[in-house]
Amino acid sequence: MWYLDTLPKGNYAIIDRVEERTAADPISARLCELGFVPGESVKIVATGPVGADPIAVTLGTSRFALRKGEAARIVLRRPV
């Protein structure tokens, strides 16, 4: 299993799915609404100054800052 919080900076990957940590996880739901859905490609553009947390992710034309715990809900696959 390969998650967004372990994607090295500068590399692209494709979102495979978003996992739920709890039943009806509100964070997973919000991630989906923000466009973190299967098939989209993501890239890490920056990491925070302390402990490389949070991370800045580009997703299509938007970019978001996620804490690692949030990013760890997003399962990735390699781009083809």
Binding site: E33, V50, G51
Partner: protein, 622 residues
């Protein structure tokens, strides 16, 4: 006869609402449409800002527009989004459902914004789409088949550029045409993401894909693990330098001007109660309100500019880890830092924190950040009781104590925040922060934003401060001292009596009655306590000379334990009515204000008690 059209009804004003994602340019569109004809207030019962404006179309149709809070979806996660959802669904308690929605989408971020638009399409309300930032999208090498997209969506699309007046002209003209019929909803169960992808593939050509944009180049510096924090430090340094350096002369001038004006106005009056009420109650209170204004405006000029430029979310990104220590997010940093100047602008700056829990905790710990008004008290007591000597060769003991007072306050703030952020709401609390593209701040928006802050502060907070000041004046002046009295006038007043009564509570932490009495006028503003002490000791000196005269007196009359105890008290005590007034205004809850007052006084008492008895034990005083 045909059924009456809306224009024939009694209320011919068309009610519309702007809806869209955060960062779609909704607010600048709102500002362009309405100019200064806006009313800013709060939605009933919540601390969400309600912005309503009025304008008329070229053909004279009058329109009332609501600028709904930015939302990512109708399945809300915050009080802001609740308001947007309820108004759109026609479920809001006090707002009527708008007759027409303007769905604002940014052409530069269609992938995100179209999804929310598709959600709005399900509502069965007429929608006009304002396709914003077309100029920027074109510059980025994007072209959009607007006619095709319009047909596919079943909603009229009007390209707008919300940065200037001409840019919103097409929308004004569209509002002169009859309200379009509500769009047909998408087939139920449709995957909105797939639908967005299809729309973009069909109608949008993006020649910029894969090219480096401005945002990439800037983020490489601003979010850099080393350069990012360095740039942030420089920005913050310049920011607070200007807050202090630019505001101070303005504040001094205003203070002088008000005093002069007061003397000029009151000269014809005979000395007596009325003159004293007007001078020390009303004019001094109003002066105190106005004196805060330069600091608030300069700080807000910065905050608004940083917010509009897109830098503020980056600062929050850089500081997130640091603030997570206190259980907060990076957004709380600037309000807390501002509170070192004064908690009032700090608490007002907490508006930029979207998360309601973070906002509340930030407001509650802001008074613990040592504001500049505590310095006169600290300086007086340190000067009187801490020996002027060096320790460890280089460090001055007095400076060390001052530093310790600041450090203790910060550490207490962090601990208090940690305690408040755990417990019931201990579930994971997300950052999920959008980093919008960088934009040049719009002067008109900045000016409007500053104007609104100024009006809000003067009218809402100002009235509370002036009335409380008058009340405290009354307490400190009545009853008048009897004929031939020798002591200080305040000693005979209600405040004096209360001060003596307070002694039973405050004696265990080492306060004498003079301190207790001076605490009451000190509620007006912390630094007033110094001149109040001078009054109580019947020094009869001007405010400026008070510290020099007090210094030897205090060091001979007070024990060191009492002095340190008072210092500890000042680190925590909410000795400032203006702060409580602004807290009341921003949280709209007396319960929160009373809770904050109780916890801060509790901490103050506890700290003073511990310090007093520890010092006594160490110095071996009776």
């Amino acid at each position: 006869m045909a059924s009456p059209t809306p224009s024939l009804q009694a209320d011919s004003t068309l009610h519309i609402a702007l809806v869209g994602n955060p960062n779609c340019g909704k607010t600048s569109l709102f500002n362009q449409l309405t100019g200064s004809r806006q009313k800013v207030a709060n939605y009933a019962g919540v601390t969400v800002e309600r912005k309503e404006g009025f304008f008329s179309t070229p053909q004279g149709r009058s329109i009332r527009v609501l600028d709904l809070p930015g939302a990512y979806s109708l399945s809300s996660t915050s009080p802001d989004e609740d308001v947007t959802r309820d108004v759109c669904l026609g479920r809001h308690r006090t707002e009527t459902r708008p007759q027409l929605l303007i769905g604002v989408v940014s052409a530069t971020n269609l992938r995100l914004h179209l999804r929310f638009l598709l959600e709005l399409r399900e509502l069965g309300v007429p929608i006009i789409v304002a396709l914003n930032m077309m100029d920027e999208a074109k510059r980025n090498g994007m072209s959009i088949d607007i006619a095709g997209l319009e047909r596919d969506l079943g909603m009229p699309i009007i390209p707008v550029i919300s940065l200037h007046k001409q840019g919103v002209q097409p929308l004004l003209e569209a509002l002169d045409r009859p309200v379009p019929p509500p769009p047909a909803p998408s087939p139920s169960g449709a995957d909105l993401h797939a639908e967005v992808r299809r729309l973009i593939q069909t109608y949008v050509t993006d020649r910029s894909a894969g090219q480096e944009r401005l945002v990439d180049r800037l983020d490489r510096w601003f979010l850099h693990p080393v350069w990012g924090p360095v740039i942030l430090l420089v920005v913050l340094f310049v920011m607070f330098q200007t807050v202090f350096a630019w505001a101070q002369p303005l504040m001094d001038a205003l203070e002088g001007g008000i005093t002069m004006l007061g003397e000029l106005l009151l000269r014809p009056l005979p000395d007596g109660v009325l003159k004293s009420l007007l001078a020390d109650g009303v004019i001094a209170g109003a002066g105190m309100v106005i004196v805060f204004l330069p600091q608030i405006l300069i700080l807000f000029l910065w905050i608004l500019a940083l917010e509009e430029s897109g830098y503020l979310p980056r600062a929050a990104f850089l500081l997130d880890r640091l603030m997570a220590l206190a259980g907060l997010s990076g957004r709380s940093f600037i309000p807390l830092l501002s509170s070192f100047a004064c908690a009032i602008p700090g608490i007002m700056a907490a508006r930029t924190i979207q998360n309601p829990r973070d906002r509340l905790v930030t407001i509650l710990i802001a008074p613990l950040m040592t504001c500049s008004a505590r310095l006169p008290v600290y300086t007086l007591l340190i000067g009187a009781f801490i020996p002027h000597k060096t320790v460890l060769g280089v460090l001055g003991l007095q400076g060390l104590v001052l530093f310790a007072l600041y450090a203790v306050a910060i550490v207490s703030g962090v601990i208090a925040a940690r305690i408040m952020t755990r417990g019931v709401k201990s579930e994971e609390h997300p950052l999920l922060l959008e980093l919008p593209p960088y934009r040049r701040p719009n002067l008109k928006s900045l000016a409007l934003g500053l104007w609104q802050r100024a009006v809000m502060f003067l009218s809402r907070v100002g009235t509370i401060i002036v009335s409380l000041n008058v009340l405290l004046w009354g307490l400190s002046s009545f009853p008048l001292p009897p004929q031939g009295a020798t002591g200080a006038a305040i000693d005979y007043s209600l405040a004096g009596r209360i001060g003596h009564l307070m002694l039973t509570i405050f004696a265990p932490i080492g306060f004498n009655w003079q301190i207790c009495v001076s605490l009451i006028p000190g509620l007006v503003a912390r630094e007033v306590a110094v001149s109040a002490l001078a009054t109580v000791y019947a020094l009869g000196v001007s405010e400026d000379a008070a510290p020099e005269k007090l210094l030897p007196l205090l060091s001979s009359q007070w024990s060191i334990a009492t002095a340190l105890s008072l210092l500890a008290w000042y680190v925590y005590a909410p000795q400032c009515i203006s702060t409580l007034a602004v807290m009341r205004r921003e949280t709209r809850s007396m319960k929160i204000v009373l809770g904050a007052t109780a916890y801060l006084f509790g901490l103050a008492y506890f700290a003073a008690f511990v310090v007093f008895h520890l010092t006594k034990a160490i110095t071996g005083e009776a």
